[in-house]
């Protein structure tokens, strides 16, 4: 089993080699001989991928591994180790992470060609892969937290990859900081877990879980259910990492990073860590109904919320980014509804089609010389057929067209949500349905605006329009296969399948709360098909037939449009409430008044008080010796009188 260690270690060594010698390697082999830094990373990730496949096979054979590697921190009875837990959930994540990572690595060879930070890019990609693997392979909370923060760091590096751009640097910082807000809760959650259970190992925690159900804890004066508090604190972390409401604002900005990064980190893997974490800690959530409802509500609201924004965005990557947020909302819905397996299933299918979408967008950008505005595209179908067809497949998949992978997962989520029987599940289900419609609509809006109709961009650009190089096209095709076929591992019973995926994960996350009746299954399925087709049709009608309609709608619903277009003004709100406030408080009250005036005032005030009184007192010092002598004599007089008085017993 030792080779498991190699899965994260190989990308790590790739990172180390690359960051230390990457530049040298490029220099040694020169510009002409393009055996660049990517080979090291590629090799590392590819081997990790192969090993992951082996690991999956082992898991399928029933070899679940839970082993400690070494003790990381010891303090009192806190013993945290670095170790690996390779079970079904991990296996799925391993495949997703390594495969998408591998494809993105390949894609990046072409995409990042000629960039001066080429080696840096690949080393960070490798580092990310390592971190993500550490995250998913963790067997305790603190290691999870370790991976959690490390992927955040890589995200920071990669978003800010083009750090000369101020927007990129700011976006990177924003991503990190917003995540920190989530991590704040997460870390407290971890501590609470430790203080409650006395351990941080998943297995031990879950074992001790039944014992603490019903215990109360006082938080800020409120007596609350302990498990709920833990679960909600953990959810905090998940919200941050998975860009759910209200901590979603960083993800759209993260699109400042290179597109492969968006595909890998901000679509397929890192952002899904939140979902993974909830699934991983499923027993805790299962123990708290409140927490589950919260998660579900957050998911539903986020899904709808992000989808509405996606409707009007013109930046192709931002549309996809909001779509990602929306899809992550679905996964949260599933987890909240207790259908962790389907959350993970959606994660799994989403990884493929969303990565594909991003990579296609990257391909388009590549052709468009970095242009992102879909209003300035159009008719690219004939120039880049591979991109078009793969993107179309991905869009169909995300829209939930039957038979494609997205259909299976989304459909199941909607069904399980409705059937969960939790409070508000109905509302969330309606939101999910609406989102399904919106998803189809905006996805195809992108397709139609980008690839159909006439080219609306700058004339000269037409000469540059071309299909991407093979290194980029190949991953697209591979991912397209995934987007189409990935769902086949989880065909539900109602469609004659075996629900194999959920069965596979059952040992880890348990069964979904309720299957729902067969009728329900069919109704939901029908409705979701209806929603997706309606969406696609609507998009086709608006953007292919009545091309002036969007303009008219936007004008007639001016306020709504600008509300959506400006993303509900969330960024502005945060800027106002959080950023400005912090800065203002820091600048004014704290720096100037408390530190500058009060403390420094006291510190400098004491000496100046002394100086002031000294200035008054020094007038006594006339400088005239006669006065001094007089005072001396007076003193002598006083002394003699005192002695005399003592002698005469007056005093």
């Amino acid at each position: 089993m030792q080779y498991y260690v190699l899965i994260p270690l190989l990308p790590l060594s790739a990172f180390v080699l690359n960051i230390l010698f990457g530049k040298k390697i490029t220099n040694i082999f020169g510009e002409s001989f393009k055996i660049g830094a990517h080979w090291i990373s590629l090799l590392g990730v590819a081997s990790a991928f192969v090993l992951s496949i082996i690991a999956v096979k082992d898991v399928m054979d029933g070899h679940v591994v839970n082993a400690d590697l070494y003790t990381w921190i010891t303090s009192g009875n806190l013993r945290v180790s670095i170790g690996f837990l390779i079970d079904q959930l991990t296996a799925v994540m391993l495949v997703v992470v390594t495969s998408v990572s591998l494809l993105v690595h390949v894609y990046s060879i072409g995409y990042m060609h000629g960039d001066k930070g080429y080696y840096r890019f690949f080393s960070f990609l490798s580092l990310f892969t390592f971190s993500m693997l550490m995250l998913v392979m963790a067997n305790n909370f603190l290691q999870l937290y370790f991976g959690w923060e490390m992927v955040g760091l890589c995200s920071y590096f990669l978003i800010g990859f083009w750090y000369e751009k101020k927007s990129a640097a700011s976006a990177a910082k924003k991503a990190f900081v917003v995540n920190r807000f989530g991590d704040f809760g997460f870390s407290l959650g971890v501590m609470l877990v430790f203080l409650t259970f006395g351990t941080l190992h998943y297995a031990d925690v879950f074992q001790g879980l039944p014992g603490i159900i019903g215990q109360k804890i006082t938080v800020l004066g409120f007596r609350t259910d302990l498990v709920t508090v833990i679960a909600l604190l953990l959810t905090c972390g998940a919200i941050g990492k998975s860009a759910q409401l209200p901590l979603h604002a960083w993800l759209p900005d993260a699109m400042e990073g290179p597109t492969p990064v968006s595909a890998l980190i901000h679509a397929a893997t890192m952002v899904t860590a939140g979902v993974f974490m909830i699934a991983r800690t499923a027993p805790i959530f299962n123990a708290s109904r409140t927490a589950m409802v919260c998660v579900m509500l957050i998911g539903g609201c986020t899904a709808f919320f992000a989808a509405t924004i996606a409707l009007v965005q013109n930046d192709i990557k931002r549309v996809i980014a909001y779509s990602t947020i929306s899809q992550l909302g679905y996964m949260f819905m599933a987890c909240g509804a207790g259908a962790y397996a389907f959350g993970i299933f959606h994660l799994y299918t989403h990884a493929f089609f969303k990565a594909l979408l991003f990579l296609c967008a990257g391909s388009v950008m590549h052709a468009m010389q970095g242009e992102l505005n879909i209003q300035k595209m159009g008719g690219l179908k004939k120039y880049m057929p591979v991109t078009y067809w793969t993107m179309l497949l991905a869009s169909l998949s995300i829209s939930g067209v039957p038979g494609l992978s997205g259909f299976f997962s989304k459909d199941e989520i909607l069904l399980k949500t409705l059937a969960s029987g939790l409070p508000f599940s109905g509302v969330v289900w309606v939101l999910g349905m609406l989102t399904a419609f919106l998803t189809a609509f905006y996805s195809f809006r992108v397709i139609f605006l980008t690839f159909h109709g006439k080219f609306r961009g700058h004339g000269e650009l037409t000469h540059h329009l071309h299909e991407s190089p093979p290194s980029m096209a190949f991953p697209l095709m591979v991912l397209a296969v995934g987007a189409v076929a990935a769902g086949f591992v989880g065909i539900p019973h109602s469609l004659g399948g075996h629900d194999a995926f959920a069965r596979f994960l059952e040992p880890v996350v348990g069964e979904a709360r309720s299957e729902g009746s067969v009728a329900q299954q069919w109704v939901v399925m029908g409705l979701s098909i209806l929603a997706s087709t309606a969406g696609i049709a609507g998009a086709a009608y608006v953007y292919l037939k009545k091309t002036d309609l969007p303009q008219m709608v936007a004008e007639s619903f001016h306020h709504l449009h600008s509300l959506l277009y400006n993303k509900y003004y969330v960024d502005e709100l945060y800027d106002l409430v959080v950023v400005r406030l912090f800065y203002r408080i820091s600048r004014g009250p704290i720096n100037r008044i408390v530190d500058g005036r009060i403390i420094e005032g006291v510190v400098n005030g004491v000496p100046s008080l002394i100086a002031w009184s000294a200035a008054r007192l020094r007038r006594v010092q006339t400088g005239v010796v006669l006065h001094y002598s007089l005072v001396m004599a007076g003193g002598l007089f006083a002394m003699v009188v005192y002695v005399l008085a003592r002698l005469w017993k007056v005093i």
């Binding site: 009192g76 800065y583 510190v603």
Partner: protein, 509 residues
């Protein structure tokens, strides 16, 4: 573990004597002086390694004890020894000594000889502070260190150095004088300065309280805790690089060390009773120090304020009074020394090139000095407590300690991490990212010397981050016995104790 030779005395007096020897060297031999200082510092470090190797982790007793009669009438002896609490600080001091000599190689241009003399003296006295087991001896080292440090700030500092140096001096002195009064009272009561004997003396509660506050004055200023921190930004900012590093890495640890070594064991009941106050101050320091960083436009000043915040973690850990807290606090002391030391070294490196500390004068440095940017990045990350770096381990343990002592303090301390990320990353962005500011265009990347100066700290950052157990194992036993002592005494009736009992209950045997 006993040595044939007095290793602690060697550690203290090797730098001191070297410094004194330097006095007799003509100032014309600048190179020789530098090499001599480097050799002395390196030798000191090498001598400290056997200490490290032969340290017995299994006992909480003092080790490498040296005791010689000194002033018998006063109950004072020359009494040295280390335990798990101090040994790491000694090592950090010896390491920092080398780095300070190295970083000043070219940046100190005038009065070179005197600078290195001061530097070596400071190093020796600092080690003395950490090794003294006699309160009188401790006080002597404590004060003696102040003089060369004052000179370093006041002579080789920035434009506003005199103000900063005097402020530093007076602040510290006022605190120290109160401690001196406390020492005298203590001696009056117990008739000895011997720490170990004093620890066996049960002092009345009221006296403990008074003495606790007297010692608090000295230690809190050094740490510096919240309301008495304003000397730090000035001193840090105006000091030369080596001075800042010494201040950040060692000097301000002496305050926290003092709490652990003297306040807690000597006045256990008072410490326990006063812990809530200390916790409040610590939390204020964490949040306040973090917030105030956002308003800084001066690189060193920002880092200085971040020190306030980070030292807030240390005191929080110490006064959480449980295993996690104290161990975390101790580790955080090392961490802060390494990280902030590294940051100041880095700033020194770049200041040597640009001669400006204003953040606004930078921008795009990552394009100009990529290797430097990488170093700085690692220190930044460690500063904000990224897992895998040392900062995480310390902060996690401290917050865990604080959290188990008093949830609110843990929660508020954790916000410090958010704020830390904000200001450090914002700093990094303003300095290293965006387009290249013309003022810094064409700067040379770090030289081999500078790289080698930063490298040990970098290694420590990763080492402690990945395998902190190595370091934690040094302090475990000592911390346990300290805590046992802290909680064994008759508990005060005041209800502030409840938190402690619940938090550390599991820990106390």
């Amino acid at each position: 573990m006993r040595f044939d030779y007095p290793i602690l005395s060697i550690l203290i007096f090797l730098p001191v004597v070297s410094g004194i020897l330097l006095i007799f060297v003509s100032r014309r031999f600048e190179r020789a002086i530098k090499w001599f200082a480097l050799t002395a510092a390196t030798l000191t470090f090498l001598f400290s390694l056997p200490l490290f190797m032969n340290f017995d982790k299994g006992t909480s007793r003092m080790q490498f004890i040296e005791r010689h009669a000194w002033i018998d009438d006063w109950g004072t002896s020359y009494f040295l020894g280390v335990d798990g609490i101090s040994i790491l600080m000694v090592l950090l001091s010896t390491l920092t000594g080398i780095l300070c000599v190295s970083i000043s190689w070219y940046s100190v241009k005038d009065k070179v000889k005197e600078f290195y003399i001061a530097l070596l003296l400071v190093e020796g006295f600092m080690i003395g502070v950490f090794c003294s087991l006699d309160l009188f001896l401790f006080y002597i080292f404590w004060e003696a260190m102040l003089i060369p440090m004052y000179l370093i700030v006041g002579v080789w500092g920035g434009p506003n150095r005199i103000y900063a140096a005097i402020k530093f001096f007076i602040y510290t002195l006022v605190g120290s004088v109160l401690m001196l009064v406390g020492l005298i009272v203590l001696h009056h009561v117990a008739d000895t300065f011997d720490l170990l004997k004093l620890m066996n003396t049960q002092l009345p509660y009221n006296l403990q309280l008074i003495l606790f506050w007297a010692f608090f004055a000295a230690f809190a200023v050094k740490v510096p805790m919240f309301p008495v921190h304003t000397w730090l930004p000035d001193a840090h900012t105006e000091a030369p690089t080596a001075g800042s590093v010494l201040l950040a890495a060692i000097l301000i640890k002496m305050g926290a060390y003092g709490f652990l070594r003297f306040s807690l064991p000597l006045f256990p009941q008072a410490s326990v009773a006063m812990a809530p106050v200390m916790l409040v101050l610590s939390v204020i320091a964490i949040v306040y120090g973090g917030l105030i960083c956002l308003a800084q436009s001066d690189l060193k000043r920002l880092i200085a304020y971040s020190s306030v915040s980070h030292m807030g973690f240390v005191t929080l850990g110490i006064f959480a009074m449980n295993g996690y807290g104290v161990q975390g606090g101790l580790l955080q002391m090392i961490n802060h020394g390494v990280v902030t030391g590294g940051l100041f070294l880095s700033i020194g490196i770049v200041y040597e090139r640009t001669h400006t500390r204003q953040i606004a004068d930078y921008g795009g440095l990552a394009s100009v000095m990529p290797i430097f940017a990488a170093f700085f990045m690692v220190f930044t990350l460690a500063s904000i407590g990224l897992p895998g770096t040392n900062g995480f381990v310390g902060e996690f343990l401290v917050i865990l300690g604080g959290f188990s002592r008093n949830r609110l303090s843990g929660v508020l301390a954790a916000t410090g991490i958010i704020i830390g990320a904000i200001y450090m990353l914002w700093l990094y962005q303003r300095v290293f990212f965006t387009s290249v500011n013309e003022r810094i265009a064409g700067l040379k990347d770090v030289s081999l010397r500078e790289g080698l100066t930063l490298l040990p700290l970098l290694i420590l950052v990763i080492w402690i981050g990945v395998y902190p157990d190595f370091f934690l194992s040094f302090m475990g036993t000592s911390v346990n016995s300290l805590l046992a002592r802290l909680h064994q005494g008759p508990l005060d009736q005041s209800n502030v104790m409840n938190g402690v009992i619940s938090g550390a209950g599991a820990f106390v045997k």
